[in-house]
């Protein structure tokens, strides 16, 4: 009955209660959605990183991990790969020759990680083959002598890019409402080729004015960028015998995973091409990357593989990229800290409201104590009232947050027009799918109840200090 009285008391002064409830609704909604958003970002970072970089499991010669040298190999790889492929949870396996080296063009040089891959197997394990840029050729579709696929970032470094606006680019830009009005202006740049980004920037600024150019340049450049395919890159690295080996490769593809750090470093060549240059045996590799059907089975499969290959080092994705795995853990702390601050602020609001509610009910509380409601019950009544007040708002906030997370979690939130460059540098996709686990909702419910209980202490103590005889005499 005290529960029902407390609940009814909440609705005594509807406007005042609603103010607090709305404050809770907005606070909880805002906090939750923000965290869901960051969770979404973290998750997309992890997904991208697994899909393009680490895969679920990697196997190395333990010495290779200490010292990324070509000579630390896994031998007899075809048999091992065949055995791993038989594990039912395994989706695909890609053996790789991996060696650090230098990439040189006539324009520039850059340190790279050379990945010698079995093209067909690699296609199934990573998303690189699907991340080929527009106008960026293909992932080893063209046969020819010693092809190489590089990242867009590296292509820029090695001066294998240029900027030229073509009809098709204008069509693509025209699909964006906010750019439609500058299309006719851009038309005058059509067919002109700019060798560097700064030259193109300059031309855009002259054409559109500085401010307008700054706003639109990211999109325009994204469309206008072209790659000098079929150009030669010379790769050099330390071969198995300790000498520097080098060979020329022809660019057949340019990929863009959305993580510029990765794209600036990794180049892909056929394993047969690199093995001959490095004088490796055909069945020697440095790394076996494994993609599973589902990430949940990673530890179990890793153990199984470790059983198959006693001497090898088997790592799961979170061991390979602890920084990516850390993201989601950090979000848990974020959620906790955010909500603590939000609830602290809301808690003071609720103290104020409850204090008003107690002080205007002095006479009634005096009567309740006079007729025999003991202190514990009075305290409980006021505490429940406070908790109800907070919880009502929190429930509404959680519902709103849930609905918006569900909705935007399906459609995605497009950040590309705002921060694509920055996000790509961090390896985060520009389309964020907010997501949040049920545990967050439980955590919040718990924290709100705790806030309610804490916030009720002061008003309740005020009420308990009342002397029933005096309280009854107060003229309201």
């Amino acid at each position: 009955m005290i529960w029902s009285i407390s609940w009814k008391n909440v609705w005594r002064n509807k406007v005042r209660s609603l103010v607090v409830i709305v404050a809770f609704t907005l606070g909880i909604f805002g906090g939750l959605y923000m965290v869901a958003f960051f969770y979404g970002m973290a998750e997309s970072r992890i997904k991208l990183a697994i899909g393009n970089e680490s895969s679920h499991i990697q196997v190395h010669n333990p010495l290779y991990l200490e010292n990324n040298e070509l000579k630390y190999t896994i031998d007899e790889s075809p048999e091992i790969v065949a055995q791993i492929e038989k594990i039912p949870q395994v989706l695909a396996v890609s053996p790789r020759i991996k060696v650090t080296g230098m990439a040189n063009t006539s324009g520039n040089a850059s340190g790279v990680m050379i990945n010698g891959v079995d093209v067909e197997k690699e296609r199934l394990v990573t998303g690189i083959s699907e991340s080929i840029a527009r106008n960026g050729g293909s992932f080893f579709k063209e046969s020819g002598r010693k092809p190489i696929v590089i990242g867009e970032k590296l292509a820029k470094t090695l001066k294998l890019t240029y900027y030229e606006i073509q009809d098709e680019d204008l069509d693509i830009l025209g699909e964006r409402k906010n750019l439609r009005n500058i299309i006719p202006v851009l038309d005058s740049l059509k067919g002109k080729s700019f060798r560097s980004e700064s030259e193109f920037d300059h031309a855009l600024a002259n054409l559109l004015g500085k401010e307008e150019a700054e706003k639109a340049s990211f999109r325009i450049k994204q469309s206008a960028i072209k790659y000098r395919l079929k150009r030669k890159i010379v790769l050099s690295f330390q071969a198995l015998d300790g000498n520097i080996a080098y060979d020329a490769f022809r660019v057949v593809g340019v990929y863009n995973t959305g993580n510029t750090g990765f794209d600036g470093l990794n180049v892909y060549v056929r394993n047969t091409d690199i093995a001959s240059v490095a004088s490796l045996m055909p069945d020697q590799v440095n790394q076996i990357a494994i993609l599973l059907h589902s990430v949940e089975e990673d530890k179990m499969v890793a153990e199984q593989i470790a059983g198959l290959m006693p001497g090898a080092d088997v790592q799961t994705w979170d061991e390979i990229m602890p920084e990516a795995a850390m993201y989601s853990e950090i979000m848990d702390y974020f959620l906790f800290i955010f909500l603590t601050f939000i609830l602290l602020a809301l808690g003071f609001g609720i103290v104020n409201t409850m204090l008003m509610a107690v002080l205007e009910r002095v006479k009634e509380l005096g009567m309740l104590m006079a007729v025999g409601m003991n202190r514990r019950r009075v305290f409980r009544m006021i505490m429940l009232e406070t908790v109800f007040l907070g919880l009502t708002g929190a429930m509404a906030g959680m519902l709103l947050a849930y609905l918006l997370v569900w909705w935007t979690g399906n459609t995605g939130v497009d950040l590309s027009s705002l921060y694509q460059e920055g996000l790509e540098a961090m390896g985060i996709a520009t389309l964020v799918y907010p997501t949040i686990g049920w545990d967050a909702f439980f955590q919040i419910t718990f924290l709100v109840i705790l806030t309610g209980i804490l916030a009720s202490i002061y008003p309740a103590l005020k009420a308990l200090k009342l002397n029933p005889a005096e309280a009854l005499r107060v003229d309201m």
Partner: protein
């Protein structure tokens, strides 16, 4: 020993500057089944006496014994329980819980006592019928007239099956018809169920109905008149 015995009761309020002697040595006793009024002008000490009698206030000196319990020796939490189980209160301003219906207001006291639901329901209905509100069980106080609210208050006071009922100016806010109606109901309960009523009042209509009137003046008994 009498049912209620008050010995050498004194109450001094320490107002910021000077002391106020609200009650200056009262000896008084009540039998079970009395229908008594404590009367006198405002400031004579009748509300103070009633509050002390009801365990809402502590005397500066003296003892109150109710049915064998020395009330002023009880701890504050024990006093609350004592009030809950032994005393029914009716206040001048009705003081019902506004968010509860008439039925719930009466039931609430029995809920505090921990009585089972079936008993609460039956007794609530019975009591509200006794005060003539059998048809207003589900009305909230704001939908009831002053007289009706005070009758709910009487039903509430009776709900706990108290040893006696203390009523502080119960008719002060009522018109004469409602007053008469209320007094008739209380008189009937007194006669038929032998329930003890003690009023503090300066309402002539109440004094007229009372079987005993104790006149106070300046914190002392002026006259104790049994009709």
């Amino acid at each position: 020993m009498k049912f209620i015995e008050i010995r050498d009761l004194q109450k001094i309020y320490n107002d910021s500057e000077h002391e106020v002697h609200a009650v200056r040595g009262i000896d008084l006793s009540f039998e079970e089944g009395e229908f008594a009024a404590i009367a006198g002008p405002s400031g004579c000490g009748k509300t103070t006496l009633l509050n002390i009698l009801g365990g809402l206030d502590e005397p500066t000196r003296g003892t109150i014994n109710i049915g064998g319990t020395n009330v002023n020796e009880l701890k504050s939490s024990e006093r609350i329980n004592f009030r809950l189980n032994n005393i029914g209160f009716v206040f001048q301003a009705y003081n019902l819980i506004p968010v509860l219906t008439a039925k719930e207001n009466v039931e609430f006291i029995m809920h505090l006592q921990g009585r089972p639901k079936a008993e609460r329901d039956a007794r609530t209905k019975e009591l509200l019928e006794a005060v003539g509100l059998g048809d207003r069980l589900n009305s909230r106080p704001s939908k009831l007239s002053g007289g009706q609210q005070q009758r709910v208050a009487v039903a509430r006071a009776l709900a706990s099956k108290p040893k006696f009922i203390l009523a502080d100016e119960p008719t002060a806010n009522l018109d004469s018809k409602a007053t008469e109606n209320l007094l008739d109901i209380m008189e009937k309960l007194n006669k038929e169920e032998n329930i003890t009523f003690i009023f503090a009042t300066h309402d002539a209509r109440v004094m007229k109905k009372a079987k005993r009137v104790i006149y106070l003046e300046d914190g002392k008994i002026l006259k104790d008149e049994v009709k």
